[in-house]
Structure formats: structure tokens, C-alpha cells
């Protein structure tokens, strides 16, 4: 244990340089976000992840932004265990009928001001699952969405850029 800990300390950091906030995300946010909601949250956002029907590919990449390479917490972004603690809902998947109510209730349980980020192609337009009797629709069809991060699944760097754009906006 000690030698591994020592090596962990000595080997230097694996972290990448901070990326710039994504331009597409900034543009979408400029349209979506009201000015009065800005400045409220400082440089810190608490994120609650909700899988509303995903294949779990997006979840794997959300896990990845927590690893020491992307290290999302250095930007003040933190995943929390309850919507009551959250500023942001990060929603994945085509919203299935079986998850619709849970998503609506999670949204209702999140205190204002709040943002919703729809992550992945399914969250945007149901992707390959469009037209199924079991899918209620894209995330924006169920709850208001502030930002889309496209990809199947979006690579961690894209997720990071999108979320950084959100922090930049919240900062004003």
C-alpha cells in the first residue's frame, strides 16, 4: 500500500490542461438563459445525474469526467446524490414512458434556479430509439432543457466543455 501511495505522489499529475468552454454550448446558453439567473451560483455547480432510459454508454463517459485525467471537481463541478442538493440535472437517454414520472419528480424536487443539460444523441432526439411505443420523447419534450451535449456517447472532453460553458454563464 505504502509504495503505491508514494508512487502516486511522485509520479506527477495525469490531469489535462483545462479546455475552453465549448462554443456551440456558449451560443445555445446565450439564447436559453435569462440574465437574472446569472451570478447566483458563483463558480460552483452541483450536478445530479438522471438516466432516463440510456443504454448506459453515456453514464460510462460521465464517470470518465470524474477520473484524474479530466478531474471535473477542479472546476467547481460536483456530482451530488440528491436532486435537493443540485443546481443542474444532467439527463441521458430517450425518456422512456417507464422513467417519465421519475424524471418529472426529480425535476420538481430540484430547487430553483436550476438548469437541465440533455446529454447524448438519445437525449436530444431519441436517436435509434425514435418511434418506439416505449419512448415518451427527447428530454426537451418532458422538461425544459438549457443545453444539449451531442454525441453517442459524447467523449469526456465534450462533456467538460459543455459544462464549463454552463459555469461561465452562471458566473455572468
Amino acid at each position: 500500500m505504502r509504495s503505491l501511495l508514494l508512487r502516486s505522489l511522485l509520479q506527477g499529475s495525469a490531469v489535462i490542461a483545462p479546455p475552453k468552454p465549448g462554443e456551440a454550448a456558449m451560443a445555445e446558453l446565450a439564447e436559453e438563459l435569462g440574465a437574472q439567473a446569472q451570478r447566483r451560483l458563483g463558480r460552483s455547480l452541483a450536478i445530479r445525474e438522471v438516466d432516463a432510459g440510456s443504454c448506459n454508454g453515456c453514464e460510462l463517459e460521465i464517470h470518465a469526467i470524474n477520473n484524474p485525467v479530466y478531474d471535473i471537481e477542479r472546476f467547481g463541478l460536483k456530482f451530488v446524490a440528491s436532486p435537493r442538493h443540485a443546481d443542474v440535472l444532467l439527463v441521458t437517454g430517450p425518456v422512456t414512458w417507464n422513467m417519465r414520472e421519475a424524471l418529472e419528480r426529480t425535476y420538481a424536487a430540484t430547487p430553483s434556479p436550476k438548469w437541465v443539460v440533455a446529454l447524448g444523441d438519445c437525449a436530444f432526439n431519441c436517436s435509434v430509439f425514435a418511434g418506439s411505443y416505449a419512448c415518451a420523447g427527447a428530454v426537451k419534450d418532458i422538461i425544459p432543457v438549457d443545453l444539449h451535449i451531442p454525441g453517442c456517447p459524447p467523449p469526456p472532453l465534450d462533456i467538460l466543455k459543455g459544462l464549463l460553458a454552463l459555469v461561465a454563464h452562471a458566473e455572468g
Binding site: 503505491l4 430509439f129 411505443y133
Partner: protein, 505 residues
């Protein structure tokens, strides 16, 4: 009808020749159907799946010792057939789902509660034969009676970044008396979406049945289509498929070992494992153009070739990963605070693992000596030496060690496959379309993925069934947690790492 008795499928159809997909097809009557189900219950053969194919009900069976698999089909009468789970419990959830999704009645089904149908769909599932009464809300959980019992409802939205599902714990103080799962939240209607789709579209959907097993599903789908059409992928494509499948296994096994350590509060090991996983994914991106290699395996071959310099990249990745992973393993092996959490926790008996034909590390950690790559070999594993890691202890620790040994053997397998790679095409020439059926089984990181499909003469998928290994692992998780403390549930759950999406479909 003469009274049915437990019968071995080898007795019924042992001498028959298998189709190009490796499955022996047999048409049976009601009596033989029941005899075979009783045979599963007696341990004479593995129950692999049950599904509807047009007006037939089909049951896949396996005799791994002989290396043969069977698909028994029985014509249904007025959308009904004799229930398998009446005699063999592992079929229960599959039959409840069949009833929900297809309107088929398994006669004698021991549990009539809906499973996938939560009463929320505005229209019937496409392909459902008849209307069932809408499920009455709320769902009735099985009763637990006793002094001082309380219930803990968890989910569908969980505290971590994981998929949705509901767990109903009944506990006495800290000790869990019963866990009952309620799943189906991420049901996307995949079988119906694939039915009527062309092969390319269905392949993209199959790749998204369970994102973490995207390679395994694409692989199984490709094998099933190729067997149906008599299509032969080139040798280079076969090896590239194997390399990708092992990279997928490596990335998840390493991540799971880290995740289990994380749930036992040894965060530094988790950090090291996530770094290793990240390196594997970045290498996959460089070599195959996608971090999870989604949609790279397609019927006929693969879409991305491996450049010579990329083969070198994989070689050096393996060297680095193995060395650093062994450092993690040494700490895991020597840290009493970790062993204290994982040894004897979440025990699954060999009887249960065998009865449920539990695949992957869940089965192998409980003494079930089964690995699709070894028992029913498919290319390229038919020419490779796959070591099967088996443990007898059946606890969280054993499931960790099976993963550790499989990481080592995956590294060896990839090295072997890289050596065998020879220049050549990666896609077979287009083949003539024809009607037919095919099935395939592939060993994903979690266990055996099974796909059965039917194609029509225009090359459209006219029947589709996929069975995730999780179907037979979720019920064992309920058994594993019994008598453990509530706080050890995350540890047990992570050691199983079942798929919600793969199960809910």
C-alpha cells in the same frame, strides 16, 4: 398425455447435426417441452432463453460439457404454451416479460405480476398478440413478516451515476432479510424496433442494447446474421473482433475492481483503475476511431482496420497496464481493511449459480466452470487457448479475483491475436440475401450474450431476440444480499455489475 419426466436434451436430439450457427434445432410437442424444462430443473442442461418466433415458442438449451446447444420450438395454441418457470424458476422473469410484451400466456406461470409493463405505455407494444388488463398500480411486493422488520425503498433514481431500477429492502436493523428488485424502467422496445428494420439499422440498435457491452452485442448480432446468410468474414476481421472484445473486457474488469475498492472506501485504487481504463479507451479511440468501439463490428466484418503503428500502440498499452494493474492487485491482496469488506460478503452458492446457469464472473466465482469462449468456441477463440478462471468461494472477493485473472488472460489473448494478424481485407464481399434464422452466443465482459434472429428474403429482420447475461444474475443478487448488512449492498451490487438496459431492453 404420459406424465412428463426430467429429460436430457442430449437424449432427445443429441445425435442431430447442428446448423451453421452451432445450434441443433428440434421441433417438440407439449410433453417433450415440459420434459426438457424439468431436465433444466434437474441440472441435466442449461436453460439459455425463451422467446417467441412467429407462432412458435422457442427455448434455447445448452450442454456445455458436450459443447452442444439446442433450440427447441413448439407451436403455440391460441398464444399459449406450457410455462417453463412452473418447473424451472430461472425462466420466470423472461416469461413475465414475454407476457407483457407479446401477450403470450405461459400456462401455469407461478407469478402473474407484470414485469416490464409498468402500466405507462399509451399504446400496446408493437407485436403484442392480445390486450391484457393494464397493470394495477401500485406494484405488489412480496410480503415479509416478522417482528421489527422495516422496508427501505431505493430508486428508480439512485444516488450515484448509475442506471435506474427499484430495490425494495426489508431489513431487521442492519441485516437485510429480503431484497426484491423491480426493473423495466429503461425499457425502450428494442425487439419491436429491430423487427422490420434492415440489417444495418438493426445492427446499430443492437450495439446500443447495453452500452458497456456494445462490442459483445455487435459481435453476437454479426455472428447470427452471418450464420443465417452463410456469410464468411475474412480472417483479419475475425482477429480484430477478438482484439476489440478483449479490450472491452479489460476496460470493464479493471474499472470494476477499482469500483469495488471505491465502495470499500479505498479511493486511491479506484483512481488508479480509472486512469488505466482511460488509457484503454484513448487507445481504442486512436486505433478504432471510437472510445468504446461502437458500430465497428458489423455483419460481414469490421469497419476499421488496425494500422501497423496502432498494433504497436496496443502492445505498449498492455505492457503499461499490466504492470500498473499488478501494483493495484498487490495492494488489494495485502490490505486487511479491504479483505475485511469483501471476503465472505455477498455469497452465492454453487447450486444457485448452476441452477441459474449464471454467466461471467458471477457464475465462475461460484464454481461454475463455463465461459462461452471455451465451451462454445467461436472465431477467433476456436484457435486460441482461453483459460477459464474459476473460484469456489462465491463471495465479493472471489468475483474480484475472477476479474483479476481474466485481465491477465485477456492481455495474453490480445498479444496472441496481434501476432497472428496478417494483412488482408476486413469486410467480406456482399452476399445474396435470403430468408432464414440464426443464433449466436458471445462472451461479453459480464457473461454470455445470446441473440436469435430471423431474416426475410429481402434482408429485413423479421424476428429479434436478445438475452443479456443479467437476466440470470439479477435474481442471484437478491440471494447474495440476504443476511448481509444494508451498508454492504453497494459492494455486492458492484461485484455483480448487472446491466439494467440490457435486461430491460
Amino acid at each position: 398425455m404420459k406424465r412428463p419426466v426430467a429429460t436430457s436434451v442430449l437424449e432427445v436430439a443429441g445425435g442431430q447435426k447442428a446448423g451453421p450457427d452451432g445450434f441443433v434445432r428440434l421441433a417438440v410437442d407439449d410433453r417433450i417441452w415440459i420434459c426438457l424444462a424439468l431436465g433444466c430443473a434437474k441440472g441435466l442442461q442449461d436453460f439459455l432463453s425463451v422467446w417467441a418466433d412467429g407462432s412458435d415458442i422457442c427455448m434455447a438449451l445448452g450442454a456445455p460439457v458436450k459443447g452442444v446447444r439446442f433450440i427447441a420450438s413448439l407451436p403455440m395454441k391460441r398464444n399459449a404454451y406450457p410455462s417453463v418457470s412452473k418447473n424451472h424458476a430461472p425462466a420466470l422473469r423472461l416469461e413475465r416479460a414475454l407476457r407483457d410484451l407479446k401477450g403470450i400466456e405461459p400456462q401455469g406461470l407461478p407469478d402473474h405480476r407484470p414485469w416490464i409493463d409498468h402500466g405507462k405505455w399509451p399504446s400496446s407494444p408493437k407485436g403484442r398478440q392480445k390486450e391484457l388488463p393494464r397493470p394495477a398500480a401500485p406494484y405488489t411486493f412480496l410480503p415479509s413478516e416478522g417482528e421489527g422488520l422495516h422496508q427501505i425503498p431505493v430508486g428508480p433514481v439512485h444516488a450515484g451515476i448509475i442506471e435506474p431500477g427499484h430495490f425494495r429492502f426489508t431489513a431487521n436493523g442492519e441485516a437485510v432479510v429480503r431484497l426484491e428488485e423491480r426493473l423495466g424502467y429503461v425499457h425502450k422496445g428494442i425487439e419491436a424496433l429491430c423487427t422490420g428494420a434492415d440489417i444495418a439499422t438493426a445492427a446499430r440498435i443492437a450495439a446500443r442494447i447495453s452500452g458497456d457491452s456494445t462490442i459483445a452485442y455487435s459481435y453476437a448480432f454479426a455472428l447470427a446474421v452471418e450464420a443465417t446468410l452463410g456469410w464468411r468474414p475474412p480472417p483479419r476481421a475475425k482477429l480484430l473482433r477478438g482484439i476489440m472484445a478483449e479490450l472491452e473486457r479489460l476496460s470493464h474488469h479493471i474499472n470494476d475492481v477499482g469500483g469495488i475498492c471505491n465502495d470499500a472506501s479505498v479511493v486511491v485504487l479506484h483512481a488508479h483503475c480509472t486512469l488505466l481504463r482511460e488509457e484503454i479507451l484513448q487507445t481504442a479511440m486512436q486505433c478504432f476511431g471510437h472510445r468504446m468501439m461502437m458500430d465497428v463490428i458489423v455483419p460481414g466484418g469490421v469497419t476499421q482496420d488496425l494500422l501497423p503503428e496502432d498494433a504497436g500502440r496496443i502492445e505498449s498499452l498492455l505492457d503499461r497496464c499490466l504492470e500498473r494493474f499488478e501494483a493495484v492487485v498487490r495492494v488489494y491482496d495485502e490490505a486487511p481493511s479491504l479483505q475485511d469488506r469483501t471476503v465472505t460478503t455477498g455469497y452465492v452458492s454453487q447450486e444457485l449459480a448452476t441452477q441459474y446457469a449464471a454467466g461471467g464472473y458471477v457464475g465462475r466465482a461460484s464454481g461454475r466452470n463455463f465461459d462461452t469462449r471455451k465451451s462454445y468456441p467461436y472465431a477467433p477463440y476456436d484457435h486460441l487457448d482461453v483459460g477459464v478462471a474459476v473460484r469456489a468461494e462465491g463471495d465479493v472477493d472471489a468475483r474480484v479475483w475472477v476479474r483479476i485473472e481474466e485481465v491477465r488472460s485477456s492481455v495474453k489473448l490480445i498479444r496472441g491475436m496481434l501476432k497472428k494478424l496478417e494483412p488482408g481485407p476486413i469486410m467480406a464481399k456482399a452476399t445474396t440475401l435470403k430468408a432464414g434464422t440464426g443464433a449466436a452466443m458471445v462472451e461479453g465482459f459480464r457473461g454470455d450474450v445470446f441473440i436469435a434472429l430471423r431474416l426475410d428474403e429481402t434482408g429485413r429482420v423479421s424476428g429479434f431476440h436478445a438475452r443479456d447475461p443479467s437476466w440470470f444474475q439479477w435474481p442471484l443478487l437478491e440471494a447474495a444480499i440476504e443476511g448481509n448488512i444494508v451498508a454492504d449492498f453497494p459492494l455486492c451490487n458492484k461485484s455483480f455489475n448487472c446491466s439494467y438496459s440490457g435486461h430491460d431492453m
